[in-house]
Symmetry: C2
Subunit: 484 residues, 2 copies
Amino acid sequence: MSNVPITVAHGDGIGPEIMEATLHILKEAGARIDIETIAIGEKVYLSGNAAGIAPESWESLRRTKVFLKAPITTPQGGGYSSLNVAVRKTLGLYANVRPCVSYHPFVSTKHPVMDVVIVRENEEDTYAGIEYRQTDQVEECLKLISRPGSEKIVRYAFEYAKKFGRKKVTCFIKDNIMKRTDGLFHRVFEQIAPEYPGIEADHWIVDIGSAKLADTPENFDVIVMPNLYGDVLSDVAAQIAGSVGLAGSSNIGENVAMFEAIHGSAPRRAGQNLANPSGLFLGSILMLVHINQPDIAERAHNAWLRTIEDGVHTYDMFKDGISKEKVGTREFAQAVVDRIGQKPETLKPVTYTANVVDADPKPIYSMPTPQKKELVGVDVFLDWWKGSFYGVANDLGPLVEAVNGDGLKLQTIANRGVKVYPGGFSDTFTVDHWRCRFVADLGEGTAVTHGQINSLLQRLATAGLDVIKTENLYNFDGVKSYSA
Amino acid sequence: MSNVPITVAHGDGIGPEIMEATLHILKEAGARIDIETIAIGEKVYLSGNAAGIAPESWESLRRTKVFLKAPITTPQGGGYSSLNVAVRKTLGLYANVRPCVSYHPFVSTKHPVMDVVIVRENEEDTYAGIEYRQTDQVEECLKLISRPGSEKIVRYAFEYAKKFGRKKVTCFIKDNIMKRTDGLFHRVFEQIAPEYPGIEADHWIVDIGSAKLADTPENFDVIVMPNLYGDVLSDVAAQIAGSVGLAGSSNIGENVAMFEAIHGSAPRRAGQNLANPSGLFLGSILMLVHINQPDIAERAHNAWLRTIEDGVHTYDMFKDGISKEKVGTREFAQAVVDRIGQKPETLKPVTYTANVVDADPKPIYSMPTPQKKELVGVDVFLDWWKGSFYGVANDLGPLVEAVNGDGLKLQTIANRGVKVYPGGFSDTFTVDHWRCRFVADLGEGTAVTHGQINSLLQRLATAGLDVIKTENLYNFDGVKSYSA
């Protein structure tokens, strides 16, 4: 079998030491890889590259499609953007995968039985960071959830479960409140789950689901989530497993995949042969499975488990009475190498299987079935304020109604999602951000035109009302597709 | 001292039993209250009231301004809206407060030392539920964070800490990603904190903060958060304290406040004298402090702690070896009544102090200082799709540029927050939701007019491009106030 080219970055701080240790184990375990080294991080930032990665390095990533990355240091001060965000966005790394495992009794944790994999959507949600200030008082961020984006991550979660022999995939959403956005994610989950009859599928509302995860993680297996929930809960899961220093993760795209430790570059520990290479090493195990070298992954991972269980621990894991030997980075790696061919006796050994070439692979997202989209109105948002937080909606109402015409009429005014006109309550607190809903004169659901909306905007401007944004209202296949 | 009128609802399922038990303890502890009873919940829903509360009941709430509420059952089937949401929105209950306490060793928990209060913003964030579908593939939800809304909740958290003798208030936000929305919440926190020099103030990014909370809750005291994070983490905190069945909460508005248990109506346990009244009882303790009867609150709460510590437990708390006596709802309440005047010996007794009338009370929100707002462009969102998820941005670019004119020009096109034109990458995955940013011909930051934007929208419509929404771009006091 020929070697697989991979791109490696040694990073900053403890990065070079833990990468050296990781590559030492991989080599001794027989990994069939050819390494292309690129420079990323602090030096690249300081040489004037705002994203911390040189243009030629992208070529290596696009060529090898596999990136093993050590932690980096982003320099203090403004103007430096996140390398991880740049890599993720540019290469479309849509899935963040983080296995969170307890190694009880060898690593201390309050949750001795825990083996959870968080599969987090990585590109959408409020984390796209699309934000606006349009009034004195209010800031807005857009939460976007797409069907193909949801299909990609849910599909990935089930394929991961299949490949890694997992029994259950759980979906966390808040679709009792966010019926459209989280509702879409949940519907996609329900559509894809039946294609995997051997894998149990269930879902939790994210609040109580998170509570269960934090209290009894042993009841979970693979959990798939939109970006924000996944960000929070992948940190929670790693921390309560006792394994922030021990966890690796992958960032998977359609073409390129990146593997790393979840911890940072810990500059204060650098250069002292102290750091624990386990996080990056476990990231590299995910990489070996990804490049279809399950035999090597299994051999290296089991040797690592045996090392943990033999009490050969770096300073961060070391605990009197449990640990047997406190070792440095290099000695830890050598201890793993010395155990290649052995398996753990107390901890459960791992097994990995080769990628099966699927004769009829499922598409990772579907072509959308276009629906009949009909424009039925517009929400026009106004910046308006009368110097009071109470009872002014009844002043605004008639001003807005005065621009009714040309087939459009004001239906309601809402403030922070609460209807305040007509018929609002005087004890509803209002801010300077007003949503005015216009629908057809003939009744909600009747089609209107872009031209009617543009004329309305013109009339609002003429009336001196300060339009700050619009949201068109649509029916899809005759069904109202906007919130009340 | 004259009695304080309060409104009481006995609710559904176990509601009537636990309310009876709670009121029995309050009465015997000497609470100076006059009760107005209202009907809410299942029967009211089924009688045709979609919000589960009759119009005349609002009058009682507005009159007494204090609402002690038992859990209710929302009937199955569509068309019934949440009573809690209706009460919260209508009466502006902006603060949700949930103390989460461990009662180790009397109630089992992995976190023996825990006494955390979650103060959650209750009206804003994505939970306003403002959602739109405007393309085949994408759903949108608006996240709104306001300055007065943030001021109210942060102010409340510090005032709560002062009143209840708390030492620290921690803020959880994700302002490294959501720089504007979460950034505003964080800035407000930093502005208000120094007004409370006796109270420590710190903040965490919500991901790692949540991990720390789930792992070592003993390091936290009061935590204040925007709505979504607060929803998730108040459930996490209650669960890991072992106290979901034991936790009460308050929902505080400028005028009205509501007190309740955090659990539901548990219809299957109803009518059997089984249910634990502690959650509602502890909610009523918050109420007694709120209506300035700290002496009664202290007496009743300490009697309850002594009951817990004496091992007199309802079925849900009962554990062999720890509990001494398994009792029903009524017997539990009587056990608390029998201990009025006693204090716990192992658990820490509570002390409450009277409300001090502040000679110079701080306003709960400030009048905004109007800034100079200047319109400098517009993001126009298009529904456009060419049947491919890759590489089509270069086809869209020229179509949009063709409508340049009248002083406005296309600057960039982005898709899910990633710039794709000009100069995008062919490996960026795109959906059918395109953000086209238009700025002044003379350069970004130069003022434009509403008229120019309206003409642009007209030209886009004429060109057959499907505008689905707009977001105006503003500078405030000369500072760019929208994301890249």
